[in-house]
């Protein structure tokens, strides 16, 4: 749990334990999805075609872009460019907001079509996987926002910026999970 600079993982070691635990939860969910899909191939293929792939693609783009801005923020703080770091985090948060808006519209569309957790197994997985990820986007944004405020208050510089790396690592995980979730649930036929 030390914060020396000679460590293999960026950011605080504690966040990596958290990331590992989170990936385990998502991993189990993905495996459960895959196994169930292999047992109900036709049902899954049929209902999958009603998912909103365009919004999904837009959201993928938004999250990857946000990760780019987060990387920019980390690089900036390593050169003591506090304002650039704050800007990067702000833009990443903006992308995150875009994701939440698009996803909310997608959810409301599904809900108004009468789709619920109990509709069928496919929609149960679709709703719970995407909603669980949705909550993680919110948590990731809370972490990024906390770092943004600390950065603006001058808490980080080229020597001490573990916090920025820590938040960035978590955000990349949120992004990575979506990059797996999107093809898995929306695209793979």
């Amino acid at each position: 749990m030390d914060t020396e600079r000679t460590k293999p993982l960026p950011g605080d070691f504690a966040i990596w334990i958290f990331i590992f635990a989170e990936l385990m939860v998502f991993g189990v969910l993905f495996i459960a999805y895959a196994v169930t899909r292999s047992l109900h191939r036709e049902e899954f293929a049929y209902y999958q075609q009603f998912l909103d792939r365009e919004t999904g693609a837009l959201n993928t783009l938004l999250l990857i872009t946000s990760s780019y801005f987060v990387v920019k923020a980390v690089l900036a703080i390593k050169q003591d460019k506090v304002q650039q770091c704050v800007n990067g985090l702000g833009l990443a948060l903006l992308c995150g907001c875009g994701f939440l808006v698009a996803k909310t519209l997608e959810f409301s569309d599904k809900f108004s079509a009468g789709i619920r957790l109990s509709t069928n197994t496919f929609y149960m997985f679709y709703l719970s996987l995407t909603f669980f990820h949705f909550m993680h986007v919110i948590l990731g944004m809370v972490i990024l926002a906390a770092i943004l405020f600390k950065a603006r208050a001058g808490a980080y510089n080229h020597r001490e910026h573990t916090g920025v790396e820590t938040g960035a690592s978590y955000w990349h995980m949120v992004d990575l999970v979506w990059i797996i979730l999107f093809p898995l649930v929306y695209i793979i036929r």
């Binding site: 749990m1 989170e22 939860v25 957790l117 109990s118 997985f125 948590l139």
Partner: protein
């Protein structure tokens, strides 16, 4: 002791230990009734012994949590308790109400107690763990509100630390979820559904926050590791607790008439509930290995490490054992559940209570730690109780596996009572181990009365 008002915790801890002793005695009575069915009948029938055993557990843990909060919050907040007199007043109200309730259980048949306390005006009785008469439940809410007000005002007007805020969140959650004990719909599915909001969201949700913050507090004190490091761990542990534990409630919704999707959500999320407990184990051992001082209270360190290990085994491993829906289909409500319940409650909540009592009691009695003789006795009690609990769990697990096989899995299943007869040997073994547990508890209590010279002040 840094603040005079921390002393209000002392009564709470003493009451907790006394009620704990009562709980164990009723556990032994009940354990014997498993094999000698009419033992103490009709004075104390099985259902009453069970009710007293479980209710005493909950009440004494609440006493211990309140004591812990009154002890650690002033120190964390760096100020005296907002209203020490209120804490003392609430102690007596809670103790008298609790005692009256238990006496009510023992003196009246349950239906008479319900009539006597006018349950028909606002029916909340008759549900497992929530058997208390409505008037007692209202009393619990009043005590909890006064307690949270007192703790909340101390936290909010003093230094705010992660530990005190996590503790406060846990305590508020405890109070809020208890309110669901007043919701008693006619629909049995809905009734059970919300019943778990008290039972599950307490022990697999907000109580874990209380556990985490008490453990973190004791570890800061006994290891001298930077607060920053300890708080970081606390953050990730509680985050993981909530991520897995809230939806994990679904593992109680498999067979009660709730929609099918709970079998998926409940299985997956509750299967992850061991993670925060595992983190707690890593956390405790890491901090103790990195200690910057040798705290003279070795017994408290032992309890803290024991909590981390036993909570993981009891709540984590034994919980996982029967949490997946296809497994639970067979094991639901068997002795497997009892095995898990015993080790989880002991490992997580009994042991954290004994940890803070072990740490705080010597301080409140004017010394950093007890003398060597008392500590050695306390460590003996630790091992006796813990090993006894491990064996109680193992015997119940064996009984449970056999029960599942005989009653539910084999080609020609036998009726419940026939299966019970065939697993009798394990109930006897459990009862003897229970006596060892009692010896451990007696030693524990005795360790408070050891007179010694040369004790560091």
């Amino acid at each position: 002791m840094k603040y005079q008002s921390q002393l209000v915790a002392k009564n709470y801890f003493i009451a907790a230990i006394l009620l704990f002793t009562g709980q164990i005695l009723f556990g032994l009575i009940m354990g014997l009734q498993y094999v000698v069915g009419d033992f103490l009948f009709p004075e104390i029938p099985f259902n009453v012994a069970r009710m007293v055993h479980t209710n005493l557990l909950i009440v004494w843990l609440l006493f211990a949590f309140m004591g812990a909060a009154y002890f650690l919050v002033p120190e964390e907040s760096e100020r005296e308790l907002y209203a020490p007199w209120l804490a003392t007043l609430m102690f007596w109200i809670f103790l008298i109400a609790g005692a009256l309730t238990v006496i009510g259980y023992l003196l009246f048949t349950y239906s008479d107690l319900a009539a006597l306390t006018r349950n028909e005006l606002f029916p909340t009785m008759g549900r497992e763990f929530l058997e208390q008469p409505t008037i007692t439940k209202i009393g619990i809410v009043i005590v909890a509100l006064a307690f949270i007000f007192n703790i909340g005002m101390t936290v909010l007007t003093g230094r705010k630390t992660v530990i005190s805020l996590v503790l406060l969140t846990g305590l508020v959650g405890l109070a809020v979820f208890f309110l669901f004990s007043f919701y008693n719909p006619d629909n049995l599915v809905l009734d059970k559904y919300y019943w778990w909001w008290v039972v599950h969201l307490w022990v697999e949700g907000v109580w874990e926050l209380i556990l985490g913050s008490i453990l973190a507090f004791v570890l800061i004190k006994v290891t001298g590791v930077d607060r920053e490091v300890i708080e970081k761990w606390l953050y990730i542990i509680i985050a993981m607790t909530l991520i897995t534990g809230i939806i994990g409630t679904g593992h109680h919704y498999f067979w009660i008439g709730t929609p099918d999707y709970w079998q998926w959500l409940g299985s997956v999320f509750s299967a992850m509930e061991p993670i925060p407990f595992f983190m707690m184990t890593l956390f405790a051992f890491n901090m103790v290995n990195k200690r910057r001082r040798e705290h003279p209270n070795k017994a408290a360190v032992l309890w803290a490490l024991g909590t981390a290990v036993m909570a993981f085994l009891g709540a984590g491993v034994w919980g996982f054992l029967h949490t997946l829906a296809p497994v639970n289909f067979y094991t639901h409500g068997t002795q497997i559940t009892a095995a898990h319940g015993h080790m989880a409650f002991y490992g997580a909540y009994v042991m954290i209570s004994l940890t803070i009592i072990s740490y705080a009691m010597p301080i409140m009695r004017g010394r950093t730690a007890n003398g060597e003789k008392a500590q050695v006795l306390e460590m003996w009690s630790f091992w006796l109780m813990t090993i006894a609990m491990v064996f109680i769990t193992l015997f119940l697990t064996a009984a449970g596996i056999l029960q599942v096989y005989l009653q539910r899995f084999t080609e020609d299943p036998v009726p419940f009572m026939v299966a019970q007869q065939k697993i009798e040997i394990f109930y006897w073994l459990r009862e003897f181990t229970g006596l060892v547990f009692l010896i451990g508890l007696v030693l524990y209590i005795y360790s408070f009365f050891v007179k010694e010279e040369n004790v560091a002040a």
